[in-house]
Symmetry: C2
Subunit: 343 residues, 2 copies
């Protein structure tokens, strides 16, 4: 039975350094009273960093780790010395039941490999999926998965992703029956591959689960806010996610170029600054931070490597919601329901 009031934090991962991680944890702590933190990493450095956060000090404990996984390190190499790294020890605390979740901003591949080896997958799950929240025009973010962990998928994988994504959306987005769609190249029933059509047929029949299957969604409607969970294989998910990121940056670059094209437009930009700041805030990845590995025997969240204090706090907050909701048990139950119905 894991400790569902404690989160293990890999304090050393991330490009922004220890101070940003600690500031993010301290910020999240204010919103989640009663939550405790195990801060894993270099003991002396963490102790020094905590001097700026007396309140967090009272609600946390330092767990020393001599090593750190490097951002460029190969997962296979990192795994060999997992037990001496802050990332590996944070995951191990979940395995031992001392924490309900682990959060790291370090190397994604290494985190996935270590988490899978240590926590194992849930019954019936071959490989975990990577899910993340993305901004929309609607009232809440949309959860998209898989984002690259599984290059090729069969129908059973997609069905499991749908069930796990819906469970995640219920807890993190606070929805009763999330609207779940499959990413496809058309909205009509006969569109797409056999795998996608087969998954759609099974999902359409899952009326007993707390989710609403809404059919197929095309790439141009990902951010419209008409779906809460979007399911696809890791290849399509990676292409869609990165294309969306690249296009948003492309438009922003064009806008910057346009605004600096004349003195008049520079003036217009200065006057419009509150408006463009609104736009930036809405798209700021720090407001949508916290990718999660779904399908493991424990909760592991990946905070973006470049996340700032707000971004870290968002990821820690999502972890807190998941542990309080006893998320791993809920997902296992939902998966068992679907397997029974399909059998």
């Amino acid at each position: 039975m894991p400790d569902n009031s404690t989160i293990a934090v890999d304090a050393m991962g991330g490009d922004e350094g220890l101070a940003v991680m600690l500031a993010g944890v301290a910020r999240a702590r204010h919103q989640f009273e009663g939550m405790r933190f195990l801060l894993v990493g270099d003991e002396a450095r963490i102790a020094a960093g905590l001097e700026s956060h007396p309140n967090l000090s009272q609600h946390s404990e330092i767990v020393h780790a001599p090593g750190v996984v490097e951002a460029s390190e190969k997962p296979s190499q990192a795994m060999r010395r997992a037990k001496s790294t802050s990332m590996g020890i944070a995951i191990d605390l979940v395995k031992k039941g001392r924490a309900g979740a682990a959060v790291s901003a370090g190397n994604t591949g290494a985190l996935m490999a270590m988490a899978k080896l240590s926590l194992r997958t849930l019954p019936g799950i071959d490989r975990p999926a990577l899910a993340a929240p993305l901004p929309t025009l609607g009232a809440n973010d949309v959860i998209m998965l898989d984002l690259g962990a599984n290059t090729e998928c069969d129908a059973r994988n997609l069905i499991q992703f749908a069930v796990m994504g819906a469970a995640y959306a219920r807890v993190v987005l606070d929805l009763e029956a999330p609207r779940v769609a499959l990413l496809n190249i058309g909205s009509e029933d006969q569109k797409g591959t056999d795998v996608i059509r087969e998954a759609a047929a099974v999902l359409r029949a899952q009326t007993h689960l707390p989710m609403t299957f809404t059919g197929f969604v095309e790439g141009d409607r990902l951010a419209r806010g008409d779906h809460d969970v979007i399911v696809c294989d890791g290849f399509a998910g990676n292409i869609a996610l990165k294309t969306a990121e690249g296009t948003a940056r492309f438009v922003a670059d064009l806008l910057k170029r346009a605004f600096s094209s004349s003195a008049r437009s520079k003036l217009g930009f200065l006057i419009s600054r509150p408006a463009t700041k609104l736009l930036r805030d809405h798209l700021d990845p720090n407001n949508h931070n916290g990718a999660v590995f779904l399908g493991l025997g424990g909760i592991v969240l990946k905070s973006h490597g470049g996340a700032n204090e707000l971004g870290v706090a968002t990821a820690i907050g999502n972890a807190a919601k998941l542990v309080r909701a006893d998320f791993t048990r809920r997902i296992a139950e939902d998966l068992a329901h679907v397997e029974q119905a399909a059998a």
Copy 2:
């Protein structure tokens, strides 16, 4: 031997109507001296429309067609009456050698099906690919294919797409050795599916063709301008294209919302108008219009259904460049080279 100074135009297709089609053709004619047009559709209506374009009248001929393919019509249904429709007759004029290319703004599925049946595919090509130019931050557009004609592809398909896309970029973008990349979920050699890695290995060896294979490109770099041709299967291509369209509209909607959030930002917007107009012009699909079916025994271009006069002129201009370059023969030669090298 097709008539490489004549283009057949389906004057009835498209959501914007006959007047926009004729205005677009008239506009393109100014840039391509010596080019002639066969305007296919309702004879009386075209004759009436031409009264506003005396110059185009002198360089065109009306070919009567009693029927029109509807936008919502199933391709299988449209094909049964192909010979009485403006779309089918325009394609037939290419088959008979009376025109070097056909351009239509009508139903894409019907256009593909009719073109394939009438013009056949080039030797060694199973199914044609749909290619289109997209805006970038660089000096020219990027040509992307396949955009949805082939849901699942093997390595040979991807290699053919690369060769055909490069030939298209040479003519339409006026490049000597286009930089060709494969869309993938990472840039390292071991990333992606077996199919993609196999295609990469063959393309890396094609040093005798006028193209430069640049390896893998990820979704976030499609619009950076470091590639001229991006190759993928129709599933990934459709997802990437629609996600890019959707994200650009999403950012524009957020911007609109932000600019109307206060009196101050509304004023800023008015002052910045020339800048935001620059942005709109750069992204305007009418500047990047003209998807082409590659791999057919003749040239068929699809103008966007909602294209305006400028958009139609862009598509007709691309058709003119292709017929003048004797494009179908060039593509067949390049494909034969690759097949020989691979044999």
